[in-house]
Symmetry: C2
Subunit: 125 residues, 2 copies
DNA sequence: CCGTATCCGTCATGATACTG
DNA sequence: CAGTATCATGACGGATACGG
């Protein structure tokens, strides 16, 4: 019995380690918008207003807050170009690009998920 | 000018579509615990108490709520085995397993991220 | 052991108005 | 255009007690 317990603890340990990695990731990437912001900025740099348009539904406060946090964690660079009206552009860093696999897997899964939802809606109706 | 606008709208459109897929995914998987719960259950089915132990820090209320939602969205099956003390086991469905790529990419990224954090802490000290 | 019920505090999110 | 200020709401989280 105790031996079995030990084995369980072992397997649980490695599982817990993996869980910690995922929790770490979610700690910096968590929330409703951060991953989406990173995704759109990896596609191309964008201005504040453009981001608001692409991320339908986000308010300026949340967007500003998330951008600040993403800048702190080095996912995003805020560049200011002086000029008549000065231009502010947000740009994804190489570190953001290290997330591209995660993002593309998530996007693929999201596509399949949407298909599944559509089908179950057909069944209901 | 209007033609350029149209082109921008085109590129934005495809970007927005991808954004929607990711938002869809985050809608069902979002929050602090859902992905972690799915991950541990994909490794092996677990009981309520075991989950509480593995996910250090989650309270019974949150765990119950997330498990209920995951059951609704068909990520998890709740199985009850009758017996002296009846046993309740939560099990990942095949649909959860369709997330395995997302999860392993996220885990890998989390590992690298932890390394990066460690290094930047060394630099500071 | 498996949860539910309750209370309560904190934080994330949102809507809107407003300033440089 | 880029963001801040303000206010409101709900999600999340912790503690504890309780019932099946």
């Amino acid at each position: 019995m105790e031996i079995i317990e030990d084995q369980l603890v072992q397997t649980e340990e490695s599982c817990i380690t993996s869980v910690n990695y995922i929790s770490d990731a979610l700690y910096v990437l968590g929330g409703k918008w951060k991953l989406v912001i990173i995704f759109t900025l990896v596609e191309s740099p964008k201005r504040f207003g453009e981001l608001q348009k692409v991320l339908k539904g986000i308010g300026p406060k949340m967007l500003a807050k998330d951008l600040r946090e993403l800048e702190l964690n080095e996912f995003v660079v805020r560049r200011v170009y002086e000029g008549k009206p000065e231009k502010v552009v947000y740009e994804a860093t190489p570190y953001s690009k290290s997330l591209s696999k995660v993002l593309s897997e998530l996007k693929d899964w999201g596509m399949k998920h949407r298909e599944k939802i559509k089908q179950s809606m057909r069944k209901v109706s």
